[in-house]
């Protein structure tokens, strides 16, 4: 298992797998299977996959730690970039096929419709992350700053879920499902942070105790 995840070529099948949703969409299009409202179908499909890839990207860190498979980190950037890719397709479908590049109407919507404001925010927040995803940018920014910047993905995922939740009319099962996953993944990080902090204070105090003991001795 470990050797497979470490192998040089493993990224190729993962990459191909990530393209399956797009391929299926094109295939359905060619076979007249996009339903009565194809533009809506494309919008919903690409939106769904954006959220799925955001969730997958956020799962990497917990999976690495819980499964003790640090090598999973090798896939995080690819999954994150695919989240951006599907988000870009989703956004493009909206401006191209739905708004027909009517910039005024778009801006009007972004300002006036909270669900679009949320979706737009989620997408815009992904842009700097996609742009600084290279090793060169990690070096340029410095690991710490780069990591700080890339925490924007938390906000992006939350905005995506809110966008979906505000969009649906009444059956909220799917947005609640994505929301639960994102909440769990963020809770894991928060929990970890608190544990680490508690750990630090505990080890700090024990050191102090030792010191006190030492003085006594």
């Amino acid at each position: 298992m470990k050797s497979v995840l470490n192998s040089k070529w493993i990224k190729v099948p993962v990459f191909v797998l990530c393209l399956v949703p797009l391929t299926r969409l094109i295939w359905r299009g060619l076979n007249h299977e996009l339903g009565a409202n194809p533009i809506e179908f494309i919008t919903h499909t690409t939106g769904d996959w954006t959220l799925i890839f955001l969730v997958l990207t956020l799962s990497i860190t917990p999976a690495r730690k819980l499964l003790r498979r640090p090598e999973l980190i090798r896939f995080r950037r690819m999954l994150g970039l695919f989240a951006f890719f599907y988000g870009f397709l989703h956004f493009s479908t909206w401006i191209g096929l739905d708004k027909f590049f009517d910039l005024a109407e778009m801006l009007h919507d972004v300002r006036k419709r909270p669900f679009i404001t949320a979706g737009f925010t989620g997408f815009v927040l992904m842009i700097p992350l996609a742009a600084t995803s290279t090793a060169g940018w990690i070096r340029r920014l410095g690991g710490r700053r780069w990591q700080m910047l890339h925490r924007l993905i938390y906000a992006s995922a939350v905005a995506g879920v809110v966008h979906y939740y505000w969009l649906v009319k009444s059956d909220v099962r799917k947005p609640v499902f994505y929301g639960t996953l994102v909440a769990l993944l963020l809770a894991y990080r928060l929990g970890n942070r608190l544990l680490r902090k508690a750990d630090r204070t505990r080890s700090g105090s024990s050191a102090r105790e030792r010191l006190v003991l030492g003085e006594k001795v």
């Binding site: 060619l30 339903g35 009565a36 409202n37 194809p38 027909f100 419709r113 009319k169 059956d171």
Partner: protein, 320 residues
């Protein structure tokens, strides 16, 4: 047409030597052409989804009714596979699947309340109350998509006259069948059931309001509201209640399902109105299924000439 055998190669298709020698170039050209074709087909697909066969009972003796539009009718397959019928699921293609075994016969419709002659109709008897007319109406959903459908039915007022409403009858309340055993989508729909709707008495008496039993020359498919539904073409689609079991004449404005579910977004009147936005999206334009570009939405869905006077002096922003 002449049927060719697969092994017949006409001389015109034998590759000339020069072309054969340039085959690499040909492959490049052909790939470009193929890519163009794929792109073209994709675009075409976006604008005109597929059609499939239908399965209903043909309705005979249908006459051509008034108010019809000559706009292009939406393909049958789209009208039957893009439905909002939350009892059978909130997804657009769910009702077609989940309403397959919905039992619509026998069917009775109870008409009572503030009337002199309350009646319980058996469906077959009810269909004979007036001549069946075909009316091609525009149908505009609150979600900003629209269709053009050749409905079959007769004016709702023909039924109303049968029961003789009293002076206390100011509104008409409608109720859909609710049978959770038959309606697997209802549990997660997020709206209260049974589905209820209402009209003001003058709206219900308006000759445009149709009591509908069929479409496209046949009885209604289950997912489109079989066996009897309402069609109120100047209002958003959700006012056109499906699978009706009860009609009651009342004195006060009756509750309506979407208004109960979200009063800020859905009003009692819900007239199609491009200048009053849904809180979450604009109602100025709509996507006609099968069309690529959005088209402007018309006031009262284009039936203003017939219905504007019903709302004289009313603030339609307030009574949305």
């Amino acid at each position: 047409m002449l049927q060719k055998k697969s092994w017949d190669i006409p001389s015109s298709e034998i590759t000339p030597r020069s072309v054969y020698l340039n085959r690499r170039e040909f492959i490049a050209d052909a790939s470009a052409a193929a890519a163009m074709m794929v792109a073209e087909r994709t675009l075409w697909e976006l604008a005109s989804p597929s059609q499939k066969v239908r399965a209903g009972t043909k309705l005979n003796g249908v006459i051509k009714g008034p108010f019809g539009t000559d706009e292009k009718q939406t393909p049958y397959n789209d009208v039957t596979h893009y439905n909002n019928f939350y009892e059978f699921g909130a997804g657009k293609e769910e009702p077609a699947e989940k309403a397959k075994n919905f039992k619509t016969s026998p069917w009775t419709l109870v008409v009572d309340g503030a009337v002199n002659k309350p009646k319980t109709f058996d469906l077959d008897a009810m269909m004979k109350l007036a001549p069946l007319e075909e009316r091609v109406y525009r149908h505009r959903c609150v979600e900003a998509w629209s269709i053009v459908v050749p409905w079959i039915g007769f004016p709702l007022n023909a039924l109303i006259k049968q029961v003789e409403p009293t002076s206390k009858a100011k509104y008409v309340a409608f109720q859909s069948l609710y049978d959770p055993k038959q309606m697997p989508g209802a549990r997660y729909a997020g709206i209260p059931f049974p589905y209820v709707e209402g009209l003001r008495m003058d709206e219900a008496m308006h000759p445009l309001a149709l009591l509908c039993f069929g479409m496209y020359g046949e009885t209604l498919p289950n997912q489109d509201g079989a066996p009897v539904r309402l069609v109120v073409p100047w209002k958003y689609g959700f006012k056109s209640i499906k699978s009706i079991v009860k009609i009651k004449f009342v004195e006060h404005e009756p509750p309506t399902t979407w208004n109960l579910a979200n009063p800020r977004e859905y009003g009692f009147y819900s007239n199609v109105n491009p200048s009053v936005d849904h809180p979450r999206w604009s109602q100025a334009k709509e996507r006609r299924l099968g069309e690529f570009f959005r088209r402007p939405t018309l006031m009262f869905n284009g039936y203003g000439e017939q219905v504007t006077q019903l709302y004289a002096g009313m603030d339609l922003r307030k009574y949305f």
